[in-house]
């Protein structure tokens, strides 16, 4: 019997992997992908909850998250291209000119 807990646990694991990836990888593009993975994990939790509660709102939330993620990726990648043009790198550790 697959329960909500199964899905929530899977979601938590995926989220955790995404979070660790975000903190460990230095390639800005992969860092970005890790954010997408985390969003995706959250989406899974939403849809699972939606199924087990019999509510549609979870799916709608995922729908909105998807569109927002699309917008975010577009802008983020454009930023990255712009940064690459001037800095010639996508290493996040070399993009630290806002150091205090």
């Amino acid at each position: 019997m697959v329960t909500l807990t199964h899905y929530l646990a899977l979601s938590a694991i995926l989220f955790g992997i995404g979070a660790v990836g975000f903190l460990v990888r230095r390639n800005a593009l992969i860092v970005f992908m890790c954010v997408e993975l985390m969003l995706n994990a959250a989406g899974l939790a939403f849809v699972a909850a939606s199924r087990y509660r019999g509510l549609l709102e979870g799916q709608l939330t995922v729908f909105f998250v998807l569109t927002v993620a699309a917008a975010e990726v577009a802008v983020g990648l454009a930023l990255m291209v712009a940064i690459f043009r001037t800095k010639k790198t996508t290493n996040v550790d070399e993009l630290s000119s806002l150091r205090g």
């Binding site: 979070a19 975000f22 860092v31 996040v92 993009l95 806002l98 150091r99």
Partner: protein, 641 residues
């Protein structure tokens, strides 16, 4: 017909719309357009007032009260603030006076202000002024009335200081505003007390409660006293009248508007409006009546010693307001509003006439290119203008005669009614009656003096000798006002009594021939006395004022406005300035600045250490967030354990 009342908010909306149109119009708009838009807005408001008035007139007298609820402003239990209009005889009468006078002044301003670089701002404020006053007048509760009251104060400040490039003008605007604030402070307290007592701001329930004696008389006494404090500010009564003479700093149409229609009448209107409250506090009624009467005499006295053509009129207004306040205080609301109306016409006439004179002198002075400093308001530099500006002279003469109370002009009837209403009461009212008779004499005196100095004799300056009549856009309103100054009194003449029937059907106006005779004699006496002193033949060459040798030191005191400004300066302004300087020199640099700087230094040193956390590494920030999230999660788990 009832549907018309639903649209009565248009009376306020039209000038507001004019204000908005001129606000959003570009700087390139032609000045003519600006003035026409503003005047049309005022005229539309007047038209709407007439319609509402007619609709109300069509109703039977006992049904002449319509309350229009417009908008629920705020609900903060127990306070429900609603914006509503009260259409009743008093408010429509006021609205008619305000919009009629206001419209004519707008039209006049097109000519008077022509060429001013900031004419758009001027007309915007003028429209806003009118809208605020109408809001004040038409409101159905004290709160909205207060909003209008304050807006009127703001507009007066803006307009008195309209030519703020001259420091004196800005100072005069500030003075008007601050003096009004003092009165408003009492007014605000009165409103709070009112709400505390009655639990509402709406006129209807409050007056009903008063009628049923549902509240203690003591509280009402306090409330009315506090409200009266506001009145002394706005309607320029002792002790807060000092701002009005300085309000002459504004353009002349503004003075006319302030004196005739929009600003100073607000106080009288408030007393009339809150009449049921005042009726319950006989002590306050006595105070109001006496203060009004004393103000009337006091201001009339000062007016005798003034040389500025507008300043004389300003003190005259204070004096006439004293009449109205005294009448309203004595419960003669009809008489007070009657005088308010007639006064609006002839005072507007006088101001616009004075404006016409000033306008002419200024142009005549500027024309030959005389570089010497020249005050076009100074009556000592005038004289002999009757031949050069006949229209202005004749209309001005009518206004002066109306103000002096010569029958059958407007001032005669309304002043008479006030005097009669005070006669039968006895006690303090008799005292007030006496004072007002004295004031009537002085009124006739100083008006004759002014007419004599300005129009009679030979010119006493180059500019006066070369003055010309003003353009039609200025003289036509003069003619209209002159017409009203003649006939406005007949509306309430004995036997007709239309205004009284309209405002208070139960009190028809009474006419005592002997009173009328007495008043006429007093006025003639005043005119005669003034003419004896100021006729051109009696005026030797080189003498500044023939009255000075007669009164000697006292005349100097009169020209210095009886030293009241100096007294206030000594009593309030100087000590306040000392305290302020003390605060500025001691408390601020050491107390406040010290605290702020110390805090800043603390933050600075702390930031120096904290900024090392801001490493610029995105991943490190992310790690901080994750650590925070983990800690939070475990905290929640621990709490739920």
């Amino acid at each position: 017909m009832g549907a018309l009342f639903e649209w009565s908010w248009l009376i306020i909306a039209f000038p507001l719309l004019g204000f908005l149109i001129n606000l959003i119009s570009t700087g390139q708009t032609r000045e003519r357009t600006v003035g026409v838009v503003a005047s049309m807005a005022a005229a539309a408001s007047f038209g709407m007032s007439v319609l509402v008035f007619a609709a109300l007139l069509a109703r039977p007298p006992e049904a002449r009260l319509v309350e229009v609820s417009l908008y629920r402003w705020a609900i903060v239990p127990p306070l429900t603030a609603e914006v509503g209009l009260r259409i009743d005889p008093l408010s429509t009468a006021m609205a008619l006076i305000v919009t009629l006078v206001g419209t004519l002044i707008h039209v006049y301003s097109i000519g008077y202000m022509a060429g001013d670089p900031h004419i758009r701002r001027f007309f915007m404020f003028l429209n806003l002024f009118l809208a605020s006053m109408l809001l004040l007048v038409l409101a159905d509760n004290f709160l909205v009335l207060f909003v209008g009251w304050e807006l009127v104060g703001l507009c007066s400040y803006l307009l008195i200081g309209f030519w703020f490039e001259v420091p004196y003008n800005a100072w005069a605007g500030r003075k008007a505003f601050i003096v009004n604030r003092i009165g408003d402070f009492g007014f605000t307290l009165g409103l709070l007390l009112l709400f505390w007592t009655f639990g509402t701001f709406r006129y209807g329930p409050i007056f009903e409660a008063v009628e049923h004696r549902a509240v203690e008389a003591g509280v009402v006494t306090l409330i009315t006293l506090l409200l009266f404090a506001g009145v002394t500010g706005k309607s320029a009564q002792i002790p807060l009248y000092v701002w009005l003479p300085d309000a002459m700093a504004g353009p002349t149409p503004v003075s006319a508007l302030i004196h005739a229609a929009t600003m100073v009448t607000a106080g009288v209107y408030l007393i009339a409006r809150a009449h049921p409250l005042f009726a319950m506090a006989p002590f306050v009624q006595g105070v109001v009546t006496l203060i009004g009467a004393v103000t009337a005499l006091w201001a009339a006295l000062i007016a005798v010693g003034q040389f500025d053509i507008k300043r004389v009129l300003a003190f005259s207004t204070i004096s006439q307001l004293g009449y109205m306040v005294a009448a309203a205080g004595a419960g003669a609301v009809g008489a007070a509003i009657f005088h308010l109306g007639t006064h609006a016409f002839f005072k507007a006439l006088l101001f616009l006439g004075a404006g016409s004179v000033i306008h002419a002198l200024e142009h005549a002075h500027r024309h030959p290119g005389d570089p010497s400093p020249f005050d076009p308001n100074d009556m000592r530099r005038m004289g002999g203008l009757a031949q050069r500006m006949p229209l202005t002279f004749w209309t001005y003469g009518i206004g002066a005669a109306a103000l002096a109370g010569l029958p059958p002009l407007a001032g005669f009837w309304s002043k008479d009614e006030i005097l009669i209403s005070l006669r039968g009461i006895g006690g303090w009212a008799t005292l007030a009656y006496g004072l007002l008779l004295g004031a009537a004499f002085l009124t006739a005196f100083y008006m004759t003096r002014q007419v004599g100095m300005v129009f009679a004799g030979s010119p006493r300056s180059h500019a006066a000798a070369h003055a010309h009549e003003s353009p039609a856009v200025m003289t036509v309103p003069l003619g209209i006002f002159a017409f009203f100054s003649v006939v406005a009194g007949w509306i309430n003449a004995p036997g007709l009594g239309a205004l009284s029937a309209w405002l208070e059907p139960e009190h028809p106006p009474v006419f005592h021939p002997e009173q009328a005779l007495l008043a006429t004699l007093i006025a003639l006496a005043g005119i005669g006395a003034a003419w004896a002193i100021y006729r051109p033949q009696a005026w030797p060459e080189g003498v500044e004022d023939p009255l000075r040798p007669v009164l000697r030191g006292f005349f100097t005191a009169l020209t210095r406005k009886l030293y009241v400004d100096e007294l206030y300066d000594f009593l309030f302004v100087r000590p306040f300035e000392k305290v302020a300087r003390g605060v500025a020199e001691v408390v601020e640099p050491y107390g406040i600045d010290g605290a702020v700087n110390g805090l800043a230094r603390l933050v600075q040193s702390a930031a120096g250490r904290v900024r090392r956390w801001s490493s610029g590494y995105v991943r490190q920030y992310g790690l901080s967030v994750l650590i925070g999230a983990v800690l939070l999660m475990f905290y929640i788990l621990w709490m739920l354990r």
